[in-house]
Amino acid sequence: MLTKTMDPAKVLKVVGTSPVRPDGVPKVTGQAVYGADTILPGMIWGKILRSPHAHARIKSIDTSKAAALPGVKAIVTGADLPDHKFEYVGPERVAVNYWHMTRNILAREKVLYEGHAIAAVAATTPAIAQQALDLIHVDYEILPHVIDVDEAMKPGAPLLFEDMITRGIEPAPTTPSNIAKRLEFSVGDLAKGFAEADEVVEMSFTTAAVHQGYIEPHSCVARYGADGQCELWSASQGHFVVRAYTAKLLGMDIGSLLVHPAEIGGGFGGKTVVYVEPVAVALSKKSGLPVKIMMSREDVLKATGPTSGASMTVKIGVTKAGKIVAADSTFKFQAGAFPGSPVMNGAMCAYACYDIPNSRAVGYDVVSNRPKSAAYRAPGSPISAFGVESVLDILAKKIGMDPLELRYKNAVSAGSPTAWGPKHAHDGFKETIEALMKHPSYKIPLGKNQGRGVASGFWFNGGGESAATLHVNEDGSVVVATGSMDVGGSRASMALMAAETLGIPYDKVRSTVADTASIGYNHVTGGSRVTYATGIAVVQACNTVIEDMRGRAALTWDVSIDDVIWEDGHAKLVAGHAGDHAPLSLAAIAAKRAVTGGPIVAEAAVNAGGMAPGFSTQFYDVEVDPETGHTKILRVVAAQDVGRAIHHDYCEGQIQGGVVQGIGWALNEEYVYDKEGHLSNAGFLDYRIPVASDLPHIDVVMVEVPNPNHPFGAKGVGEVNIVPPMAAIANAIEQATGKRMTSLPMSPPKVLAAIDG
């Protein structure tokens, strides 16, 4: 329920500081247990056979020779998993179709991309498992393939699904295509809006599919007992969702599957789905032994979800005075081999920063012979922003207006309309623009071959279901447990919020992530929801404990609970109360827990709404080498509304991390396919993510416009920072070279070709 819980006048002692994270020492000393580190007695090794073809019909799979190999304990194919009804379940953007999902886990009728899993073997050693894979014979009928999204949409393109009819078009098409869905958001009168414009720019853009680039490949260990009870150790962004998907795919009761959250080596959205977990459970069930599966980097790049590449056309009209009067765009997103790109998000976010009276955003979700796309930081928003924010830059030049000024003149605030219906309820965007306008670096003169580009971005942020428990130990220390996987430092932020609420030092709080049998449901760590939603649950649990403490103090003092307040970690008598009792600390009350009623425990569960969106505005100074086309990032200033920073340094780190990933997306990262549809750069040597030497210091400006719906005013900080970089860098390159880059990545060969062209 929405309650205005924040007191903006309250002076905070712990929230907003930057203590060492609880998981820091284990991680830097190598003691942290990641998914690949779990070893169980009797454990055997699973490996997965993957398709060498981009598109082929599976005529038969012969596993007999592999099964006969000594040391092989189990083999599974798609036929060993229960099939599922063809239906879309759940919210439209993330609608799950288990008919599709089970075919992505292990192919059935067809393989749809190079690297598509076909069969899995569990053996006593990894070498034997690999040897067994080589003995599996798959008889393929190779089919024509299609990689590019525009090619996939053409009539006559090879069809991944011969019966797929585009959803969202009425009347429904009568012929199948690779277009899984069409959607549209529109407001106002486009013709009227463009008629009012003094300048109109229409331009087409493409973006490349890019991987989240998490350092830790997917891995898990499964143990399926003879009693039908199963345990799974998995690194993911949500062990409850891993449990739900795995149980559903295998036809298990959810209660029979316990998922332990391993430490996670990065996710960025890519670990909100399952790949190896159902396979490991199936192999363990069949073999009767614990099974570990670890992906290689090549597996990760070939078979797990990148975010979509896209093709788009953006048309925007503006008056000479700088009012954006109309916008009309079409976004075509690669879904990968199964429907489900973030095109809806892209269409909804495209104009969300701006008050535009007439707009339309049309989206297409298109399948092609690539791995199924997965979420990646603010999924969809960075893609549409590349087009929209590039066109705005061109328009600003045409009307002779500073690009920040143009954005400021059209910036949304609370009460501004959105293209998808409701009004904005929160401020925060204008403040990010003002922060850059005032920033001294924005005035630094540029040299030869140098340019400065700005761009802005929007992301919804998240709320949703979270649970937390709080235990007060007998010495007054506190344990906070949640079911939210700690991807970006949430254990620290939960401890900070608990310490602040209880009035105790940060180091008296131990913050943990509990397994699926030890706490209530928590949705994934994604969408920038945990500090908000799980934070609310933690604070509610703390407040329940405070009430309990007040009651116990009242019992000890023989007074009414109404005569007891909680202040600075102590129960105190209200001012003016007759009596002489020294304040009781949390530790003092905890020491008498037995006689005052037993263990001091609280739990809270929420389905949190009222989250506020994230806005970011950034500028980049670049220098382009006219001889090589190489773009050097000289300076980055990234302003973002964080609501209120709970852990100051981690907020800064989130923003810097998003910027770095955006720089990679802008300048280098792409999937390179050969003519046969094989991925040519499935490794970090050839799929080039940014390294420290590519980067300048990233100057972060945290704007704090608190969200009154959160106890401390927090807004999600993990996503919106990746939205502006690609367009901002393109805008900077244009200023440096006079050439407009419309295709990502803006790698040296492309920039050089533009300069020479």
């Binding site: 919210p91 993330v94 959607l183 603010a378 009004k423 904005h424 309820a425 709320g463 994934v524 929801r529």
Partner: protein
Amino acid sequence: MTAAHIVLTSGFSRRYTNGVKEFDIDATNVRGLLKAMDQLYPGLAEILEEETAIAIDGELHEVVYTQVLRPGCEVFFIPRIEGG
């Protein structure tokens, strides 16, 4: 009781309410709202619960029965968003 003003997306209204996009419904919380809409269009409540989020005067929420509706508030049912 003062009515809340309800708005559906074009897609939802086309599929489920014969194209009617806007309603005024007397309800003090989301449960009451869904119940009233389900009486108008049987089965709609379950679809809205499953597939949408709501924006109440612009504030985004999951569909939660106990969510209070301020008299005269504007309620949009919009597609639910998930992130990375």
